[in-house]
């Protein structure tokens, strides 16, 4: 570290200035995207929490005529059985965000565990685990997802598990590479010399070091999980009676709305919400990564 900062000071004035500028720019762009992402995600989460207060109707009640266009009573019209689409979307935030977040928690737990083990025992177990990670990364994603969903059946729990089981591999890789450098640190060696058990070292000395990294991965994975949930539900592989943004699109598809003018108020809004949620988590993820990821941190110095 010291040598690098020495080398830094030996550079010409101009280059120092330009590097400072660059760093400032990166810092700013990271901060802006972070704030934007946080705002989007916070808004959506608040909407999900206060769905009851925010939505004009109970989304499961038939509050209007089927296939009504937008009106003062129903701002986004009604669906094929007369349920208010706006209320469906507000309540849909609950399911969509919950599935997205829980699925990426599942992914984070699997990914971090695999990454810790593979990094701590790199010789045999690590190799085996990482080849397995490679396989998961290589498998074409959506077909496998569809296959699993069709095989296991349609329920929230399965949807969460299926998505979680398929998106952990990236996390595992990042965690493992970090663990590989941590185990060579002096304090780990010291702990080992005084006879600390592997479990003790992993839990007390290594896990805290990678936890922040895992959180960053989790936020990014959520973005993907939300998109996957929407894809599954749209294809009719989720539970079609649970109101998520994807199922709103599913019903629009099976009742032929894509061919009618109703796509403007029935297809576009859930589509935009899905994109917005994915974007929000992705922006947050990028910003977090710039702060957390040691590789990016070193580069900026």
């Amino acid at each position: 570290m010291k040598t690098s900062s020495l080398a830094f000071s030996e550079n010409s004035e101009i280059s120092i200035v330009s590097k400072k500028r660059k760093r400032k720019r990166r810092f700013n762009s990271g901060r802006v995207s972070g704030i934007a992402g946080c705002t989007i995600v916070t808004c959506l989460i608040l909407a999900a929490i206060f769905a009851k207060q925010l939505s004009p109707y109970d989304p499961s009640s038939q509050s209007g005529k089927p296939f009504s266009p937008p009106s003062a009573e129903h701002l986004l019209g009604t669906n094929d059985i007369g349920q208010d689409i706006l209320s469906e979307l507000v309540y849909g935030a609950r399911i969509s965000l919950t599935i997205g977040i829980v699925a990426s928690i599942v992914a984070m737990v699997i990914g971090t565990t695999v990454g810790l083990l593979a990094g701590y025992y790199p010789r045999v177990l690590g190799r085996v685990l990482m080849r397995f990670v490679d396989i998961i990364l290589i498998i074409p994603f959506l077909p496998l997802l569809i296959l699993l969903a069709a095989y296991l059946g349609r329920s929230l729990v399965y949807t969460v598990l299926i998505i979680g089981a398929l998106i952990w591999a990236g996390t595992a890789r990042v965690i493992r590479s970090q663990v590989l450098t941590i185990v060579k640190q002096d304090y780990v060696l010291a702990a080992r010399t005084i006879g600390a058990s592997d479990l003790h070292i992993i839990v007390l000395h290594i896990l805290p070091q990678v936890l922040l990294l895992a959180v960053g991965q989790f936020v990014q994975a959520t973005s993907g999980a939300i998109l996957l949930e929407a894809a599954l539900s749209f294809l009719g592989l989720g539970d079609p009676l649970q109101k998520s943004w994807g199922t709103v699109l599913y019903w629009a598809q099976v009742r032929g709305v894509f061919l009618t003018p109703a796509w403007k108020w029935w297809v576009l809004p859930p589509g935009m919400l899905i994109s917005l949620a994915a974007l929000g988590f992705a922006l947050m993820g990028f910003a977090l990564e710039q702060v957390i990821n040691p590789r990016l941190k070193n580069n900026s110095k």
């Binding site: 499961s60 038939q62 094929d80 079609p240 009742r255 709305v257 061919l259």
Partner: protein, 542 residues
């Protein structure tokens, strides 16, 4: 400026008038048309009696090339077609048929009694598919002369005219007598020889069929010279083609939500009629408390079927009758009443002691809450929606429903394992539906409700009712139509009294077509518009 506006307005009104007049003359219903393009979904192979694929529209298209002894009239009842006279022996074992003498196959050979005998013998020798089932009970045929034949049965069979005579195409002996493997034998399109109003002249797999009018057709020259059946991979692409008038007619029902939109297109008309398909809720008698008639009736009272029709089908269906038979059937018993009455539903449940004792809004039966799973196949969106709404309705009377949307195979396996009712059933409540054939023939009703599974081989609920069995047995042996009709009306009343299942609705069959191009289609009750009557002069309809 004002002047200018006036001119424009004048021009507009003028053009609208011209357009209105011109389209009026186009819409002459008896005009002949050179070419009509119809959309079908999926391939139907070479469409001869052994290669066509689907029951609808495959069989319907097949029958445009062939004729049967009887054909279905507009009311869905069999009418003499190739036959001029039919005499049935007193023991119901022999039918003596007199045939028309002016029917030719499209290769110029005459259709005679020998072809009829050959058809029945051939289907007995090579029992393939639907037609072999149709003629079940056939023993032998005896040609009396070229236009007179006796058909002998092994034992009397009710509804033989409809099943065997109105369904089986009479195919030419001179072509098929040399064919020994009908399942494998694929005809070249040019040798699809039949006697029907159309001749298939071209077939491109997965693209189209081209059918040409048979100018020597005995019932008159078809009104459309060339019929092109264009194949589409899915419904939405066929609809897109229809809306731009790349095809003139859709040979498949349109979903209810499309009706109003297609109606809005100038030049497009919708023709609607009964299809005799059904949407049902069935309840397993082995699953307590569905063995109690009060519970089944309460559920029937609690479901607002009119609302379901209006919401899910947007009105394009007929409310189900408790007596199973469609009100448009000529044998419908109009004494059978079907009502929606929440208070009655509640009092029926109260009357058998099924009450909410713990105040959670759900009633209890023998200490357990009235909570059931209503299963429905997840590939049927309308049924899923029906189940969703029924769930809400039953909650109003204190019955908790969980909708189980399951794979088609799981669903069928739970309700009708291996399609054999003797193998039991493993469900509490289920959405169900029968295809049109089960109801189009009113006298098939005992198959659904007879406790003897030999007769009641479609008895999916496990109903066993002495009165139903008694009437069904009488129907089986009753020969006089008037008395059979009286019995089937009694049966409807008995079914309504027993309520083994809840007939929610009979979806209509809406078809869309460009009436500005061609009109005067024949909607055969329970069959739809894909039939030869739609394309021959109206004067020749039976």
């Amino acid at each position: 400026m004002k002047h200018y506006l006036k001119t424009i307005l004048g021009l507009l009104i003028g053009s609208v008038l011209v357009f209105a007049f011109s389209s009026n003359t186009i819409a002459d219903s008896h005009k002949r048309v050179d070419r009509l393009r119809a959309a079908i979904i999926g391939d139907e192979s070479t469409i001869n009696p052994f290669t066509y694929v689907t029951g609808e529209p495959g069989w319907n298209i097949l029958m445009m090339q062939y004729d049967s002894l009887y054909t279905l009239g507009i009311d869905g009842q069999p009418q003499p077609w190739l036959v001029t006279k039919l005499v049935r022996s007193a023991d119901r074992l022999t039918y003596t048929l007199t045939l028309r003498d002016d029917v030719y196959y499209n290769d110029g050979k005459k259709l005679t009694a020998h072809d009829v005998k050959f058809t029945f013998d051939y289907l007995t020798k090579y029992p393939v598919g639907r037609f072999a089932k149709d003629i079940r009970g056939f023993s032998s045929a005896n040609v009396l002369n070229d236009y007179k034949i006796e058909i002998h049965l092994k034992k009397p069979r009710a509804g033989y005219v409809r099943k065997a005579f109105a369904d089986v195409p009479i195919f030419p002996r001179h072509i098929w007598s040399e064919v020994t493997d009908p399942k494998k034998h694929q005809f070249e399109s040019v040798t699809n020889v039949g006697s029907g109003p159309y001749i298939m002249v071209d077939y491109k797999p997965d693209q189209y069929y081209r059918l040409k009018a048979n100018h020597k057709y005995f019932a008159g020259t078809p009104r459309v010279e060339e019929l092109i059946l264009v194949k589409f991979a899915d419904e939405s692409s066929s609809h897109a083609a229809f809306r731009t008038n790349s095809v003139d007619i859709l040979f498949k029902n349109i979903p209810p939500e499309q009706i109003s939109m297609l109606k809005g297109i100038k030049g497009v008309s919708i023709v609607q009629g009964p299809l005799f398909t059904t949407q049902l809720v069935i309840m397993n008698y082995d699953h307590k408390p569905f063995h109690m008639v009060e519970v089944r009736k309460a559920i029937a009272y609690a479901i607002d079927r009119q609302k379901l029709v209006d919401t899910i089908y947007l009105g394009a269906a007929t409310v189900g009758s408790n007596g199973w038979i469609h009100p448009k059937s000529p044998y419908f018993n109009n004494q059978v009443k079907t009502r929606y009455n929440l208070a009655k539903a509640k009092s029926l449940l109260d009357s058998v002691g099924i009450k909410d004792t713990d105040g959670d809004g759900i009633r209890e039966y023998e200490g357990k809450p009235m909570a059931f799973e209503l299963i429905t196949p997840n590939n049927n969106a309308l049924r899923l929606r029906l189940a969703e709404l029924i769930k809400g309705k039953l909650l109003d009377v204190g019955i908790k429903i969980t909708v189980g949307s399951v794979e088609q195979n799981t669903w069928e396996g739970a309700v009708w394992p291996d399609f054999d009712v003797n193998k039991g059933r493993n469900y509490a409540m289920s959405m169900w539906g029968w295809s049109a054939g089960v109801q189009a023939d009113t006298f098939r009703a005992p198959e659904l409700v007879h406790s003897n599974t030999g007769v009641g081989f479609l008895n999916l609920t496990g109903v066993s009712n002495k009165e139903i069995d008694r009437i069904s047995n009488l129907m089986d042996t009753e020969d006089v139509l008037a008395r059979r009709v009286e019995l089937v009306k009694q049966l409807q009343a008995a079914i309504a009294e027993e309520m083994p299942f809840i007939t929610l609705m009979y979806p209509d069959g809406p078809y869309a077509y460009w009436s500005s191009k061609y009109d005067g289609l024949a909607y055969i009750s329970g069959q739809g518009i894909v039939n030869k009557l739609s394309f021959i002069p109206k004067s020749a309809w039976p």
